[in-house]
């Protein structure tokens, strides 16, 4: 995919050079097809600098963190805590201590949902309280809140979706009320691509004293994210979608809120002192990081956000928008194809879900795969959002900073071939 068919305004300069940073992109698949990776919203590929940082850590600096008093322990701790510094800078967090490493974004949301049930004082979610989510959430931002409300007697409510794939805010005055304790929503939808007006919703939520969590799993990879400007109390994302490794996620929380929350998991490293009768707990962030943390993953995540910062997240966003616009234009030429969600590139992120009349998404992705094109087919862990549009599943293409217009052309050609193969349309 080195030959560009077109140059689009907003495309990253030196796209070939960027692609060279990602060794997997030069892979050839079965039958000699070059890889066309359009599944980055599922997981992103990894640049060499991330791979090298992790290998170097394992080869030269490996030791446990914090509790190892030797030289390697100090180096490993520096690498791990350095990852925290880099993430804090990347998010414009006011303090490194507000960055908590988790296993993934799901665990970060579960951490908040559980500790809000266990909290005593104004943050506690109990009977009669309301938790507000949206119909376009990933299952990981629905199920933890269902568990919380079922266990506490609180009530789960949600914003609907308009026919255009935007949040339906027409009943916001009713949905955000004096009983609302938590508002948790996605910044960028993983299925519809919708970019939500999170700062405005956070402002309204704060007027009634609710705390606000943003699922930024699809936002942090593709747009500049400033947690202070977001207006939220919590922002979560996962490492593997931002060119980092799996096994590490991030919970950013405002210090005043985090300090009111009880511990989540108990274990090593999260304590101040332990006796057989009782324990006292460490301050943030370690209070929420029981046990040996994902050390090499934090090193890799640090390298990943440094890599993205060097390219510039405004540039990444411009690239995504250019590719998304080009993809929407290309997909519009495929008869029988319907894009779910907003139709304007500037209103959305780089994940585009669509249906093709008469061909099931599984079959679409299977035929595309036979041509080396990787997309996702299914409900994308967003069954309620699919149901809203009367579909059981969809095919989703998702781009990233290494995606070329030529790859979009390959997708469109592949879809035409798919239709011919199944003699549809």
């Amino acid at each position: 995919m080195t030959v560009e068919t077109v140059h689009l305004p907003g495309l990253l300069d030196g796209l070939d050079v960027i692609r060279d940073d990602f060794p997997i992109l030069s892979r050839t698949l079965a039958d000699g097809h070059p890889l066309v990776y359009l599944d980055s919203a599922n997981t992103s590929q990894k640049p060499q600098v991330v791979i090298d940082a992790m290998v170097d850590h394992l080869e030269r600096h490996n030791a446990n963190v914090a509790r190892a008093m030797h030289q390697l322990g100090a180096e490993s701790t520096a690498g791990f805590e350095g990852g925290r510094d880099k993430v804090a800078a990347f998010l414009n967090a006011p303090s490194r201590e507000e960055v908590i490493f988790t296993k993934n974004a799901s665990e970060a949301i579960n951490l908040v949902a559980n500790t809000l049930a266990w909290a005593r004082g104004p943050l506690q979610v109990g009977e009669g309280d309301e938790v507000l989510v949206t119909e376009m959430e990933h299952h990981s931002n629905i199920v933890p809140w269902q568990l919380l409300t079922e266990r506490t007697g609180a009530r789960l409510r949600w914003f609907g979706i308009t026919d255009d794939g935007l949040l339906d805010l027409s009943d916001i005055d009713e949905l955000i009320n004096e009983r609302t304790k938590v508002v948790s929503l996605t910044w960028v939808s993983n299925m519809l691509g919708t970019v939500n007006p999170v700062a405005e919703i956070a402002r309204r939520a704060h007027e009634v004293g609710a705390v606000v969590l943003l699922d930024a799993a699809q936002a942090v990879p593709q747009m500049p994210v400033d947690v202070q400007a977001s207006g939220a109390d919590f922002v979560v994302f996962t490492g593997h979608k931002v060119t980092g490794p799996t096994g590490i996620g991030v919970l950013w929380g405002r210090r005043e809120v985090l300090e009111q929350l009880p511990p989540f998991l108990g274990g090593g490293e999260m304590i101040a002192t332990v006796s057989m009768e009782r324990s006292t707990y460490a301050g943030i962030p370690h209070r929420f990081e029981a046990g040996t943390p994902p050390i090499v993953e934090a090193v890799g995540l640090g390298a990943a956000v440094d890599y993205l910062a060097a390219i510039g997240m405004h540039n990444v966003r411009a690239h995504e928008e250019a590719i998304t616009r080009y993809a929407l234009e290309g997909l519009a030429t495929v008869s029988g194809l319907t894009v779910l969600g907003p139709q304007q590139a500037e209103q959305r992120g780089g994940a585009i879900s669509f249906e093709i009349e008469g061909i099931h998404p599984h079959d679409v992705s299977q035929v595309l795969d036979s041509r080396g094109i990787a997309v996702r087919a299914g409900h994308h862990c967003a069954k309620p959002a699919h149901k809203r549009f009367g579909v059981q599943s969809s095919t989703r293409m998702s781009s990233y900073l290494y995606t070329t217009p030529g790859e979009i052309d390959a997708l469109v050609d592949g879809l035409e071939y798919t239709k011919k193969y199944f003699r549809a349309g």
Binding site: A30, D31, H360, P361, H362, D363, Q366, V367, D369, S370, A377, G378, H379, K383, H386, Q392, S393, Y421, F422
Partner: protein
């Protein structure tokens, strides 16, 4: 990657013109199975007559939503089990299961499996084996419920694993 090995003409034919589709009365058990990874679903009813060694599969009716493989598998299955003695139908089920779990190494017996031999290619695509088994597992489950004497009130959703 040989697409035609997966999408045999027989499969595409059954997909476009499924046999025995729709939900019918009478039935003794109705089940609802889903494939949690992709969302494919089937609601399936079984009507048996007789009991024990004399049990016969009188009817299998279904409402399925899913890919070509899962739809075609439901259609082929109904062709194979309807009108058969339960003992024979269970033997066919076993034979199909063996084929699908054989990773492409099992030679299908056309005398037993008839149109279902077209699914031999699916066994080489691990991600699609579940699609092919969805309705077969639903049938087995519904049949087992009848044999166990459970009443015909729908329907617990089961994940096909």
């Amino acid at each position: 990657m040989d697409l035609d090995a997966l999408y045999q003409e027989i499969i595409l034919d059954h997909y476009k013109n499924p046999h025995h589709a729709g939900l019918r009365d009478p039935f003794e058990a109705e089940v609802h199975h889903v494939n949690p990874t992709c969302g494919d679903e089937v609601t399936l009813r079984v009507h048996l007559s007789g009991a024990g060694a004399d049990a016969v599969v009188e009817d299998v009716s279904y409402d399925a939503e899913g890919c070509s493989i899962s739809q075609a598998a439901a259609s082929v299955m109904t062709d194979l089990v309807i009108g058969r003695s339960l003992t024979d139908a269970l033997a066919v089920h076993e034979s199909f299961l063996t084929l699908m779990q054989g990773r492409g190494g099992v030679e299908p017996d056309e005398d037993v499996l008839e149109d279902a031999i077209a699914f031999a290619g699916v066994a080489k695509f691990p991600a699609r084996v579940k699609c092919a088994l969805l309705s077969w597992m639903a049938w087995k489950d519904a049949t087992a419920r009848i044999v166990a004497g459970e009443t015909a009130v729908p329907t617990e959703t089961e994940e096909t694993r």
